[in-house]
């Protein structure tokens, strides 16, 4: 049904969507400081998003570290630079691969979950009911979720980074005979705050974007069952795109400062 839309209409839709999202973000910042504070709901969301995603993140991170090291080894050996493996893997995981991959995984798991959950609440008119009953649904549903993702994603990223480095060290230990102590010494030698701090800061933005897009898509879900599916789907796509966009911005800004 969207096939006949012109480029102008697409641009207009895109701008409109961006504007609505910006408005939604503005509303979040207004509501976050306004009581009542839904603390218990916030903790519940933290548990749902943090703890429940941990296993997925750990497995993915471990495999990333393992595979990255295994794939890079032959090339580095060819250059006689095998001892540089910890430096290379450490910097690439902490600076870029860790935050982005884990943010994408969380976009898939969390953003779709939020989109589907809020979408179905919207479709089943639970949100409308909350508004009628005097409860602020935005405060209860959106603020708690966005705050939870903003705080949990950086923690998941650090867990992912560590397990990825451990996976890489394991490969080096078994294939190259490098001790764990030497591996982590080399990693910490190669890393600087200029690598670690921007990566951690951008993880907060990734979390914020994932939560915001998920909530926005679910909150303004179209009517019907298809609407819920679409909300979940577009939440994942848009959150992933925004992760890359934020990543680009972060690299750009950190290049200016460091």
């Amino acid at each position: 049904m969207n096939q006949n839309r012109s480029i102008g209409e697409l641009i207009r839709d895109f701008l409109s969507e961006t504007g609505q999202l910006a408005y939604f973000a503005g509303r979040f910042f207004r509501e976050v400081v306004r009581p009542p504070y839904e603390f218990r709901e916030f903790l519940r969301q933290c548990y749902q998003m943090g703890n429940r995603s941990l296993v997925l993140v750990l497995v993915t991170g471990f495999i990333i570290g393992l595979v990255l090291t295994l794939q890079s080894r032959p090339t580095l050996i060819e250059f006689g630079a095998e001892s540089w493996m910890p430096n290379m893997v450490g910097i690439s995981i902490v600076r870029e691969i860790g935050p982005v991959i884990i943010a994408l995984i969380c976009a898939g798991r969390i953003a779709s979950g939020i989109g589907a959950e809020l979408g179905s609440m919207r479709v089943t008119e639970q949100i409308d009911a909350m508004e009628v009953s005097g409860t602020n649904p935005f405060n209860y549903l959106v603020v708690t979720r966005v705050l939870a993702t903003t705080l949990m994603i950086p923690l998941l990223v650090i867990f992912g980074d560590m397990i990825a480095l451990y996976g890489s060290a394991l490969v080096e230990y078994f294939k190259g005979g490098m001790s764990f102590q030497l591996y982590f010494n080399k990693v910490s030698d190669a890393l600087a705050y200029a690598d670690f701090i921007p990566a951690t800061i951008k993880s907060f933005f990734f979390g914020f974007m994932i939560g915001l897009v998920g909530c926005y898509k679910g909150y303004y879900c179209q009517k019907g069952t298809a609407g819920v599916g679409k909300a979940a789907n577009t939440a994942v796509v848009n959150a992933s795109l925004l992760v890359f966009f934020v990543d680009f911005m972060a690299v750009f800004i950190s290049d200016i400062f460091y």
Binding site: R40, L43, R44, C46, Y47, G50, N51, L54, A81, V94, P154, L155, L156, I158, F159, D161, M162, F184, V187, S188, D189, L191, A192, Y193, A194, D195, F196, T200
Partner: protein, 333 residues
């Protein structure tokens, strides 16, 4: 309620662990950059830092002891590098230590190497400036390597010629390498040499034994070699010989003078030898004397036959006969 409490506990563990990991990572990075240790600052002035950057490591005798904090261009030829060094190194780094810009491996990042001085300097203090040494940079090194390569190529060509000459030529080296007869000869020579060495060693041993025997026994040689009295005597004989020689020389001189005088014809003998007139006169005189003697014989013969003197001569003959008989008798006894 029970379920949500356990969720909170799990969430708490998750958050605390995550925060700890962030702290651990921050500490690991900060530890490498000496952020959490007490440090002091030293400076060094270089003419070229070869791409050194803030945060690069500083090593003292190969141990990582600090980081480069700042790099400031002082004027058109000198760059001041500020380094932050661990305080525990204060006692070890002396003010005659030398800073040098180097790199971590061939393609590694740049760093500053501080090399210890001769150990005679005073311990360094906060804010001190240490001397520097500008190491040869990669470009200069490559230029030198290029020259070395060209030389190596020339050397290789020469070596090739020598090898070919060795392989194809008939010189002594070529024969050594490829002539089996010569190898056998050489082997035989070495064998003989070994035998000769053994024999000469035996000879030397025997000589040693002999010398030892000479030294031990009271032989003339030992006496000659070891008796101080004898050597004094010898010395006396030699000095006598010396004085005798001197006298003989004097005597010979005098004889020479005499012969010279004789040759010059001075004195009676000289006259006899040299004066021909006198010689002639003497010869003449002798002739007269000879004829006089003949006549004297004739007179004596006449005297024997004279009756006045005949008795005397007969008496003489008888006494002579008696004497002969007595002599014969004595011989028979």
């Amino acid at each position: 309620m029970g379920k949500s409490t356990s969720q909170y506990v799990k969430l708490g563990v998750f958050v605390i662990l995550g925060s700890l990991l962030i702290l651990v990572m921050a500490y690991m990075i900060g530890n490498e950059q000496n952020i959490f240790r007490s440090t002091f600052r030293i400076t060094a002035v270089f003419s070229n830092v070869n791409g050194l950057q803030k945060g690069n490591n500083v090593r003292y005798s190969g141990i990582s002891v600090g980081v480069v904090k700042d790099i400031v261009m002082e004027n058109d030829t000198s760059i001041r590098v500020y380094m932050r060094i661990e305080e525990s190194m204060l006692d070890h780094i002396k003010d005659d230590a030398v800073a040098m810009v180097g790199s971590d491996g061939l393609v590694g990042s740049m760093l500053i190497n501080i090399l210890p001085g001769k150990g005679e300097g005073n311990p360094i203090t906060d804010g001190d400036e240490i001397p520097t040494f500008s190491r040869i940079n990669t470009q200069d090194m490559l230029t030198t390597l290029n020259v070395t390569n060209e030389n190596a190529a020339l050397l290789t060509a020469d070596l090739l010629e020598v090898t070919q000459a060795l392989r194809n030529g008939s010189g002594i080296l070529s024969q050594l390498l490829y002539d089996s007869t010569m190898a056998k000869d050489l082997q035989q020579s070495f064998h003989n040499l070994r035998i000769s060495t053994v024999q000469s060693r035996q000879a030397v041993n025997r000589l040693n034994e002999m010398i030892q025997q000479w030294q031990l026994e009271q032989s003339t040689l030992n006496l000659l070699m070891n008796d101080p009295e004898f050597s004094d005597q010898i010395r006396g004989v030699a000095s006598n010989l010396d004085s005798s020689g001197r006298e003989i020389r004097e005597m010979t001189g005098r004889l020479n003078e005499l012969v010279g005088d004789l040759q010059a014809g001075e004195g009676t003998l000289g006259l006899l030898l040299k004066d021909s007139i006198m010689a002639e006169e003497i010869r003449h005189g002798l002739k007269h004397l000879d004829s006089g003697l003949v006549k004297f014989d004739e007179n004596m013969e006449a005297l024997q036959h004279n009756w006045l003197t005949r008795g005397y001569f007969k008496k003489l003959e008888r006494e002579q006969e008696k004497q002969e008989k007595k002599d014969k008798k004595n011989k028979k006894d």
